[in-house]
């Protein structure tokens, strides 16, 4: 029988398998192995974690393929990598290298301030950031197989991820209780493709998984995002900027699995050392924020 690759079901299904898991940012093979041993469901291969990108400034691009390749060869769990928003060639390069998932990410400096990638034309699945349901629906219509909150990456401050997750969940609930004859107006107001909103209404949920990302710094933060309806979490700078990455990584994984067992989360939060210092997002100049990148 004929085999079909790169279908929506194959791409979205891949994201479904990540549910209830933690995806960790890594910058080399050694970190990737630590993440895998701690129980990460996937790793995100990067040249610099978001907090270093913030510190260093300048243009942040796709990682040197040497790093991505080293990570791909080091672990058996899936490997994700980031390309700049709208950078067709970076995305094609990552696809050609056998990366399992691409993050079209606002953490890197956008290559295109007007257009996102037409992700449906790729065989590899994509994840994209969103601050609200309209943005999520636009990315899904372009072919994203997974959505994550944008949060405010590299800050160690969960407040923006919470805001985005709350907003998406509230708007989902709103759509589920909207009369079908009012749906087109919502689509217009939110800039959300009508077909995606209809699909949400029919299925009773988003057609793709929705992870939390951007500022998750502790096991309690990770469990919080699960309580707010996240299907899983991305942890960026938090793990390898902490004092004991191995212990920290394990604790985050367990906090996500046992998100309702608060005694357990208390126990595994003990003696983790100092979490990353973090930044108060409200004191940040607007132009330093990453979440408004993309539309």
């Amino acid at each position: 029988m004929e085999r079909q690759q790169g279908t929506d079901r194959v791409k979205r299904g891949m994201a479904e398998m990540q549910k209830g898991g933690v995806i960790m940012d890594v910058v080399n093979a050694e970190q990737a192995k630590i993440a895998e041993a701690a129980g990460a469901v996937a790793v995100m291969a990067l040249e610099r974690v978001p907090s270093d990108i913030r510190r260093d400034g300048g243009v942040a691009r796709m990682a040197d393929p040497t790093i991505t390749e080293a990570v791909v060869n080091a672990v058996s769990i899936p490997v994700m990598a980031k390309c700049r928003i709208g950078h067709i060639v970076e995305a094609r390069i990552l696809e050609s290298m056998g990366v399992d998932f691409i993050d079209e990410s606002e953490v890197l400096t956008p290559a295109d301030e007007e257009y996102h990638l037409l992700k449906s034309t790729f065989t590899v699945p994509f994840v994209c950031g969103a601050r609200d349901l309209g943005e999520a629906a636009r990315r899904i219509a372009e072919g994203a197989a997974m959505i994550r909150t944008k949060g405010e990456p590299g800050t160690g401050n969960v407040v923006e991820a919470v805001r985005h997750m709350r907003k998406i969940q509230a708007e989902l609930n709103q759509i589920l209780h909207t009369n079908p004859d009012e749906l087109m107006t919502r689509a217009k107001e939110w800039g959300a493709p009508y077909e995606v909103l209809r699909l949400i209404q029919q299925e009773g949920r988003l057609p793709v998984v929705n992870f939390a990302a951007g500022g998750i710094a502790t096991p309690a933060d990770a469990a919080l995002m699960m309580h707010l309806g996240a299907d899983g979490v991305f942890v960026g700078s938090g793990i390898f900027k902490s004092e004991q990455p191995e212990k920290f990584a394990k604790a985050i994984v367990e906090a996500v699995t046992y998100r309702d067992d608060f005694e357990r989360i208390a126990h595994l939060s003990k003696g983790l050392g100092t979490a990353m210092k973090g930044i108060d997002v409200t004191s940040m100049p607007f132009e330093e924020r990453m979440a408004p990148r993309g539309w």
């Binding site: 690759q5 079901r9 299904g13 398998m17 549910k19 209830g20 469901v41 367990e254």
Partner: protein
């Protein structure tokens, strides 16, 4: 009759919904105590490495291995890996189905695919989604091959257990789950008689 779904990580909700649509009571399994009183257990798709870490950390390995002797299990994708007695790479997990399994056997995510698969004991071809899927390199005594894709073995069973490389829980095709529910019923009917 209650069928559990191992709920550490992965496509848990899809299996629960499919079982419930077939009129079965379900339970999410996260600890050894949850295993008591089950008629069957589904090991869902997800990341097998992650599931194993969590199984180990929460002392589920010994209880699950013990249960493989009396409790029918159905593993999909990562679940198939968990059930194997031998892996091409690394140590085996539950050692319930005599077979050697290769992880990510069809390649990376870009090689993942969907197709229709003919399965022995099920009338028409089944809708099958393979995601970074394993296959069975070799079956040992007591294990029957129910389906192959080209040359590769993708569905197997023993008298008690069932495993497939693909994800029936991601489709609307309920026949693999029905097949498992029948196995569970037969197993318990037989154990009542003996």
């Amino acid at each position: 009759m209650v069928i559990g779904v191992l709920g550490l990580q992965g496509a848990v909700r899809e299996h629960l919904e499919m079982l419930m649509s077939l009129g079965v009571k379900t339970r999410i399994i996260k600890s050894a105590e949850d295993l008591e009183g089950l008629a069957g257990l589904v090991l869902p798709g997800g990341e097998s490495t992650t599931m194993r870490r969590l199984i180990d950390r929460y002392a589920l390995l010994a209880p699950l291995r013990q249960k493989t002797k009396t409790l029918p299990m159905f593993g999909t994708c990562a679940g198939m890996i968990l059930l194997a007695t031998e892996l091409e790479q690394g140590a085996a997990h539950l050692e319930a189905i005599p077979m050697k399994v290769k992880r990510n056997a069809f390649g990376r995510q870009i090689d993942s695919f969907e197709t229709m698969v003919d399965i022995e004991g099920i009338e028409q071809a089944v809708d099958a989604i393979f995601i970074r899927a394993p296959y069975v390199e070799r079956v040992d005594q007591g294990t029957r091959v129910l389906a192959q894709v080209a040359e590769d073995i993708v569905v197997v069973e023993t008298d008690m257990h069932l495993a497939c490389s693909f994800h029936p829980e991601l489709t609307n095709d309920t026949r693999m789950h029905r097949y498992f529910i029948e196995k569970v019923k037969q197993h318990h009917a037989a154990s009542v008689i003996s």
